[in-house]
């Protein structure tokens, strides 16, 4: 008998043409798709009962010059087979002026996640109602979670440059 993941994979592959799906670890389904099909894939999954968006994450593959967005879905279900499934929907976008459509219409709780990624990776989510700063106070030239942002260097350049008050007084 096929398990829940296999069935879902087949269903997905029937409905969408340009995606790759792979079942690993029995409870894990990884779906790779293009950035403009993400929202349809997500709403398809939402309608299939995987209605909990656990996380939107982003990985900066600087060598390939892409940002990989990872949407992790699980199910609010008391059925064990379904509740165990973790679905990772991945899509890749360019690092320069990255942008894609928001998924708030499908998952309401995506709002802060997208806001966070906007702030920390500089990804622009089209249609997002408020892409205002979330966590940060200072402004950074490179969004700080990108791989080319070197925090240790930044600390040296900013925080370590501030003199102690005693030293300053002695200087004057």
């Amino acid at each position: 008998m096929k398990n829940t993941g296999q069935l879902l994979k087949e269903k997905l592959l029937l409905s969408f043409e340009d995606i790759q799906a792979e079942v690993s670890d029995e409870h894990r389904l990884t779906v790779n798709c293009r950035k403009d099909t993400v929202i349809t894939v997500l709403s398809f999954l939402n309608n299939s009962g995987y209605d909990h968006l656990a996380l939107i994450s982003c990985v900066d593959w600087i060598k390939d010059n892409v940002l990989e967005l990872v949407y992790i879905l699980t199910a609010y279900a008391e059925d064990k087979g379904k509740a165990k499934m973790n679905i990772l929907v991945k899509t890749r976008i360019t690092r320069e002026k990255p942008g894609l459509h928001t998924v708030i219409p499908v998952f309401e709780n995506a709002e802060p996640y997208e806001r966070e990624l906007h702030e920390l990776y500089g990804i622009h989510f089209m249609g997002h109602p408020r892409l205002t700063p979330l966590f940060l106070e200072r402004e950074y030239k490179i969004p700080p979670f990108r791989k080319d942002f070197d925090t240790r260097k930044y600390v040296q350049e900013v925080f370590d440059q501030i003199p102690f008050v005693e030293d300053k007084k002695a200087e004057k």
Partner: protein
């Protein structure tokens, strides 16, 4: 503990009052705050020494910087500190405000708190146990007794430098300077 020493109370009521009525500003600046509730509640009961948390900086004279300070928090710390009436005392909690601690390479936490506001005492630990908080309080008593807990005087005397440092990190501050000019340390001592 010389709380029941009437002679001392008559001689310097101000100092004694400061010592035994330390009202701590309740501000969860960092993770060190987790040890504050145990120290003010049943198990350790800091109220035995007159240490209680208060709601607003105006009522407080003790500022516990409990742990790491992010840039965003720093702004509020400075504000709160400036609102506190003098004399006021600051105690830095744990490793992080001393030299960055765990977050020594974080882009969003400041590494040395004493660059931005004066600190009268530091407690080692990550985090400091409630016992250490108590010992810190007794230590602070000694400092107050000897007149060494004078961070607020230092702040007055070097306000210009402190403000410069603050603005370097936070950009232009939206509130006007607390003191219009630097009052010399010694001068202020005689006034106070």
């Amino acid at each position: 503990m010389d709380r029941n020493n009437l002679g001392k109370w008559l001689k310097s009521p101000g100092k004694m009052g400061q010592k035994y009525s330390l009202h701590a500003l309740y501000f969860c600046t960092g993770c060190g705050i987790i040890e504050i509730p145990p120290s003010i509640t049943t198990r350790w009961d800091a109220e035995r020494f007159g240490v209680i948390p208060v709601a607003t900086p105006r009522q407080a004279n003790l500022f516990l910087i409990t742990g790491y300070v992010s840039v965003k928090t720093l702004r509020y710390i400075i504000r709160s500190y400036e609102q506190m009436p003098e004399p006021k005392f600051t105690v830095g909690f744990g490793s992080c405000p001393i030299n960055g601690g765990m977050y020594w390479d974080s882009y969003n936490t400041i590494k040395h708190l004493d660059k931005y506001i004066p600190v009268d005492g530091w407690i080692a630990g990550c985090m400091p146990r409630p016992e250490a908080v108590f010992v810190a309080v007794t230590h602070l008593w000694t400092l107050i007794d000897k007149g060494m807990a004078d961070g607020y005087n230092k702040y007055r005397a070097n306000y210009q430098y402190y403000r410069e440092n603050q603005e370097k990190i936070l950009g232009k501050l939206e509130w006007p300077p607390l003191f219009s000019k630097n009052i010399k340390h010694e001068e202020y001592r005689t006034i106070a």
